[in-house]
């Protein structure tokens, strides 16, 4: 019995970790900026492309292989530093206070541009660089060989949840973000530079998306089209957890991960629909998501 449950559990957690990285940035940006960034999936895949490129550079120069771990983190910082302020100041800020339809149309336009940009720069072939995965080796758990990198990913996801909660609750920046989320006008009237908060929060969202893509690269390839798939899944997770809810995204990732894994083990033909069936079931019972509410929003 235990040998049957352990793989289910481990696969669910590993799957949830990857899904969480894809979704948490989207929900964070929505909570602060109140903008649903449809281009979020593209930033995820750009993070993957940049990470793979740097790791390939490290390998081609025969540098210390362990630098590839630093490359994963650096690529996320690099993408956030370039794209975060650029997109927020250049495009997203014009949508504040506009209808959701305008916001979605503008970020969808950005999504199309970023997807074509990736094709132009990285081509249409898939990218793959698995040095970090190979360095960590494998472990046999419950009779099944797992990549140690998968287990590290689970830990990383947990660290991100704790880190974000610490950032929001125990830092000055976090309290400023909370103030802006709670009442944007009031925060502005007491002298909080909301523009700066928006840039920082959006860049943090981009960082999380790019980090997700970068961390996924060693175990899965990056190819054109990944951005769209990621976006759809991230949106399902955000909807289940409640838009703007970080803990909600974590719990929703677990639900979606478990739903997918159960489908693959028990009813493989339902694999593709499992995340959306879970979303439908949750939204039928709680239309604002597990952690969402009609009147109050929190992060």
């Amino acid at each position: 019995m235990l040998t049957a449950i352990i793989p289910l559990l481990l696969d669910s957690l590993a799957s949830a970790a990857l899904i969480f990285f894809a979704a948490v940035g989207l929900t964070l940006v929505f909570s602060v900026l109140r903008v649903l960034n449809v281009a979020h999936g593209s930033l995820y895949s750009i993070g993957g492309y940049v990470a793979a490129s740097i790791c390939l550079f490290v390998a081609s120069r025969q540098l210390n292989s362990y630098l590839s771990f630093a490359a994963l983190l650096f690529s996320a910082v690099f993408v956030a530093a370039i794209f975060g302020p650029l997109i927020e100041r250049g495009l997203v800020r014009w949508t504040y206070g506009k209808s959701e339809a305008v916001q979605i149309l503008i970020t969808f336009g950005l999504f199309l541009i970023l997807e074509d940009l990736q094709r132009l720069i990285f081509g249409v072939q898939s990218f793959y660089e698995d040095a970090p995965m190979r360095l960590l080796g494998t472990s046999s758990i419950g009779g099944v060989v797992y990549l140690n990198y998968q287990i590290v990913l689970i830990g990383m996801a947990l660290l991100v949840v704790i880190g974000l909660r610490l950032l929001i609750n125990h830092t000055r920046l976090g309290r400023l973000i909370t103030a802006v989320v709670t009442d944007r006008e009031m925060a502005q009237s007491i002298g909080i530079d909301t523009n700066r908060i928006f840039i920082l929060a959006f860049s943090l969202g981009v960082f999380l998306a790019a980090l997700g893509g970068a961390l996924a690269t060693p175990t899965s390839g990056i190819a054109p089209g990944l951005g769209a798939d990621t976006m759809v899944l991230a949106f399902a997770v955000a909807a289940i957890g409640g838009l703007g809810q970080i803990e909600g995204a974590a719990v929703a990732s677990l639900i979606v991960g478990l739903a997918r894994v159960l489908a693959i083990y028990l009813a493989p033909s339902l694999d593709a629909v499992a995340p959306y069936a879970a979303m439908l079931a949750v939204l039928l019972i709680r239309p604002y998501g597990l952690f969402g509410s009609v009147t109050a929003r929190r992060i």
Binding site: P7, Y146, L147, T219, S220, G225, I264, P268, S269
Partner: protein
Amino acid sequence: MAFKDISIVVARYLSSLELAFRLDRGTPQANLRWAVDGLAGALALGVVAATPVAAQEKPGSLGLGLFTFTSGPAAAYGMPGKNAADLIIDEINAKGGIEGVPVSATYVDEAQGAQGVIAEYRRLAGDAKNQVMVAALSSANCLALAPLAEQLEVPTVGWNCDTHQLLIDGKSKYVFRPNGNTVPEFVAYAIYLLDRKPDVKTVAIINPDYAFGHDAAKIFTAALKALKPDVEIVAELYPKLGSPNYQTEISRLATARPDVVFSNLWGADLENFVRQAAPRGIFTSSQVILALGETVLQRVPLPDGVIVGVLGDGWWMSPDAKANPETVKFAEAYKARFGEYPVFPAIKMANALIYVKAAYKAAMQKNGGKWPTRAELADAMKGSKVATLTGTAQTRPDNDGLVDQIVGVTVKASAQPFPVIGDMVRYKGDSLMPQAGQDPLAWISTLKPEFARRLPKPGSYK
């Protein structure tokens, strides 16, 4: 002539309108799209009807519509096809073209989806310059385009279409497949497996979640059950096409502990699966069959002993290919231009273009040297037997192809930095095909172990 020109312009405009509507699938727009489809189709028919006289004169150039995946995960399979087309067309044009007419290709990216592919096909067919379509890679697109080819009467050569459903009704006049189909392709793997591993008891399948994956699973399972009824299928997984991550599927395969893992994943999906499955021990715990494994030999470090093949005879290092100077020249030119040797989709495309060229030659011989109409060209394809780079492509009366099937296992080769195919067998194309009009699955169910015993054995093709 004026009617033709106006029709082409209007048909093109309507096709572009249809593309514009793809983003909005609301009911009124959907209705409008059908109306546009109908109008564009009618106008394209008008163009076709208005052009037979002009088609008898040698045109300034011969247009080919070439359909393949040039973007997305499937491009890993589609781009070798495009590369081969570029190379072969350059070679044909360097020698003066087809029967003196230079060839110009218009590429259509199949990644845009069936609606876009249909609109592009219709747009290209509306231009009389485009006499032949080499379409398509995806079985789903082949099935979507086949009725259109018949309606517009445009010779259409399925350069890769694998699905046995494409020509199953035997009524096609304009759709041809100078390849084998899913039936001989996957029956071949069942026979090879049982020859190599006769004690197999349990099999797990991981195929892409669309017609090609499901058809292959059905055919492979039916052949195994017919030839060795005690074989049990312990897991059947169908991940979404284009899925980047297979870790959960790999865990599921590992828990099923099958003797054999069969897969017809392809393109980037196959690369991803191999890279993720290898470190997790799938290739050591089970005998793995990768039906399209040859396409990744130069890109992914496959271990020895994996059963792979080329869904036909398109292995550039096969004894027949190495004995053909044209094939050797093609492989070297391909390597020089694109940095790797031609994988079998490249060979399939090259063979399809050789098939088209041979059809023009035959059609012109038949009609006294005049440039053939589309109908005359289609007539020349029917029942043809064409020498290709890697063997022979024979077209049956139902327009389906008879092509040999090569299967083997990965082995190290001192001459190459990547594994090659060894312990090969070459099954005759007609030996694994049901008769025209026969239900393929019913035919497979009649197979007996004696049938397999009469076929050549692994290692016999040297």
